[in-house]
């Protein structure tokens, strides 16, 4: 009877988790596609290669080898222990215990579970070190303004959760081992495992009933914890464990210095210059084109996906020359702002029957200030630093376009530059007619041929 109740409760838990995750995933998917379409250029093979190297292989994480190794341990542990989760899920549904032990030879089963335990230990140790790094060592990039409150808690919660999950895994296996020795028929003889064998003595004094309770509790906390975790990450920066893959696949592959051409401007400029204009559909476009980005809807879906993929590690900000020298700009905050605003727009949309109702707010101004945008040197250090090729600069420059072209809000000095370029064809106020003075002066200089080299025709 209790068995059946457990099985039903388990199936209900899976169903509920599936419902919540699907709901959140749909919400996030719709939010990402608030962004405009973007042409994905470049070779597919190379994109796959990037995904393999950067997301799967975490190549850029190894720029800092020790941290890279620990991060890889947590990630590999996460992936591989999922195979054990599959067994747990099957056990939960069927009411059996260690279902795989009946299917595969016991020596192999023993080896695999022991291997998982080693991974679990690596995860635990790494998470402890990460907690120390974050909370005791006070690494500056973890304690900046944008990390106050929820982002800081989010980072810690996930580390505590990982440690709890791994502890449950060990407790489960250790109490299981004692129960096997007692000859409890529900627990097939699979032997002790490499790590949990050292924990078994802790449980050996308990009665059989107490042991079953411990084992069952650990088992349930472990699997329910994993279910809760999978819902939690959709609200958390930890979404990167999935989105790192599409994010690296779709990342910009052209030279980092290249800015995308604005076709909407090209036609107008051609008209101004009296040049022939191709494919103008002026007749049916009743919408005035707006230039640049003031809100999430003006960005591309790749920009928004970037934002949802960001783990708030702050490598971008720690490399940003503006941030290093105390300016307000933080590329990480830009990414966090885009995500927060996308969430806000998404909630508004869903609350209003699928159509976003103007809430009097914008990404520009309410989240990202002009001061931040203006401080950027477009040096690409942020994009280079990101382990999963997020491009904060693309967003900053798109928002500057809004400031310049829609708001005419650029600093006075830049307005002077614009004027100089228009009038003198140079950013400085020098006469265009003097442009070749340097050459004319040079032509009067006598040639001094070096004595080490003869003229080569």
């Amino acid at each position: 009877m209790i068995q059946i109740v457990q099985q039903l409760a388990f199936v209900a838990a899976i169903g509920f988790t599936g419902y919540l995750v699907t709901k959140r995933a749909t919400f996030i998917y719709k939010n990402i596609f608030l962004g405009k379409d973007v042409e994905i250029k470049g070779d597919q093979q190379k994109r796959l290669g990037n995904m393999f190297r950067l997301a799967f292989g975490q190549q850029k994480m190894f720029d800092r080898p020790l941290v890279g190794l620990m991060h890889f341990a947590v990630y590999a542990g996460f992936l591989l222990i999922n195979i054990e989760v599959l067994e747990i899920v099957l056990d939960g549904i069927t009411g059996q215990h260690r279902i795989f032990a009946n299917v595969i030879p016991s020596s192999i089963y023993h080896f695999i579970v022991s291997f998982f335990e080693i991974m679990a230990l690596a995860v635990t140790v790494s998470c402890f070190i990460f907690l120390i790094r974050r909370n005791a060592l006070k690494i500056p990039r973890f304690h900046m303004e944008e990390m106050k409150g929820w982002p800081y808690r989010d980072a810690n919660i996930i580390l505590y959760a990982e440690i709890i999950l791994m502890t449950m895994l060990f407790s489960m296996n250790a109490s299981d081992a004692v129960l096997q020795q007692m000859g409890n028929e529900h627990y097939p003889i699979v032997g002790t495992f490499v790590i949990s064998q050292f924990l078994a003595p802790l449980f050996s004094g308990l009665s059989e009933t107490a042991l079953v309770a411990v084992e069952r509790t650990a088992w349930w906390v472990h699997i329910l914890g994993i279910f809760a975790f999978s819902v939690y990450i959709t609200y958390s920066k930890h979404l990167h464990i999935f989105l790192a893959f599409p994010n690296t696949y779709f990342a910009k592959m052209e030279p980092k210095g290249k800015m995308e051409n604005m076709e909407s401007v090209t036609n107008e400029v051609k008209i101004m210059l009296g040049m022939p204009v191709e494919n103008t559909d002026q007749g049916d476009s009743d919408e005035m084109p707006t230039f640049g980005a003031k809100d999430v809807q003006d960005l591309t879906w790749r920009n928004v996906m970037n934002a949802y993929s960001c783990t708030e590690c702050g490598r971008c900000t720690s490399q940003c020359p503006a941030n290093i020298t105390g300016k307000k700009l933080s590329p990480r905050k830009v990414m966090m702002d885009v995500r927060d605003r996308a969430e806000e727009i998404g909630k508004n949309r869903d609350a209003n029957g699928g159509t976003f109702q103007d809430d009097g707010k914008m990404l520009y101004g309410d989240y990202i200030s002009k001061e931040e945008l203006m401080a950027c040197t477009s040096c690409n250090a942020c994009a280079e630093a990101c382990p999963i090729n997020i491009d904060p600069l693309g967003i900053i420059l798109e928002m500057r376009r809004y400031v310049a072209m829609e708001e005419s809000g650029t600093p006075q000095e830049w307005n002077m530059v614009f004027q100089n370029i228009e009038n003198n064809q140079a950013p400085w106020a020098f006469a265009a007619s003097d442009r070749f003075k340097w050459g004319e002066e040079l032509r009067t200089q006598e040639v001094k041929k070096s004595d080490t080299d003869n003229i080569k025709a």
Partner: protein
């Protein structure tokens, strides 16, 4: 041939008049045309071009800002106006290959003009100099000017991260027999001078330090006698930093072209 004793700086208009076509167009840029300090860099490069008899020309009065600062400042209209007019001139002269000493001009013409109909083979002068050295057309060995001297290279963002060119400038410095010392933040981790993205033309936002000071301190700490640059904006920013630190006597800021020209006694 009475003019052989004078430096040749032919313009495209003059070339066409004589029925000639250059192998390569030297795109001078605004800094090279107007900034007194940077004119010396352009002079050095012209001397090198003369020395190795490169068949080159400049646009001269027909050259115009590429539009880079306007685009980075958000003014796409002005950028495209500039770009289209420049492309019209370049295409009319049937220009195929362009060399420039400015990484901003380089990036814009190379990466951004194609979308507006301007397709050229664009090289930065560091690559061009490396090419001349590799082909044996430009020999810098025997030049004692920088032998064993500590030189550090400041990566320009628009050459380095923007276009992944890290080796060419270093090859040129190494060819001088100089002792190339790297700053802690170099190559893909190089720290910006503070001028990119049109910052050159305005005061920085409120902060606790200027970016060029941060970078200059790092350059000085290498103990180098020369900070080599490959960008007019970097040159200005680092020079200002050196002045600010009152180190003008100990540390010189020089462009790659100046290093080569000086080592050859040009």
């Amino acid at each position: 041939m009475t003019d052989t004793n004078f430096l040749k700086v032919p313009t495209m208009a003059e070339m066409v008049e004589q029925g000639k076509h250059p192998e390569v167009l030297f795109w001078v840029g605004c800094a090279g045309s107007y900034d007194d300090r940077y004119k010396r860099v352009i002079t050095a490069f012209v001397k090198i071009l003369n020395e190795v008899n490169v068949n080159f020309a400049v646009l001269g009065p027909e050259e115009s800002c590429t539009g880079d600062p306007a685009r980075r400042a958000g003014n796409e209209f002005l950028f495209q106006m500039q770009a289209m007019q420049n492309i019209e001139v370049l295409n009319a002269y049937e220009i195929k290959k362009i060399v420039t000493a400015c990484p901003h001009c380089f990036n814009t013409i190379k990466n951004e003009y194609p979308a507006l109909g301007g397709n050229y083979d664009v090289v930065h002068h560091s690559e061009f100099l490396q090419g001349l050295i590799d082909e044996g057309k430009l020999s810098v060995d025997g030049g004692e000017a920088f032998k064993g001297k500590k030189i550090t290279f400041h990566d320009s963002c628009y050459l380095g991260r923007a276009n992944d060119i890290y080796q060419a400038p270093r090859t040129v410095i190494e060819a001088l027999d100089a002792d190339l010392v790297e700053m802690k933040r170099c190559k893909k981790n190089g720290l910006c001078c503070g001028a990119g993205g049109a910052q050159m033309f305005k005061e920085p936002e409120q902060g606790n330090k200027d970016i060029n000071i941060e970078r200059t301190e790092e350059a000085i700490s290498t103990g180098a006698e020369v900070v080599a640059a490959g960008c007019p904006f970097c040159m200005t920013m680092i020079s200002d930093g050196i002045k600010n630190k009152e180190k003008e006597k100990d540390v010189k800021v020089m462009d790659l072209a100046e290093l080569v020209a000086e080592s050859k006694g040009l």
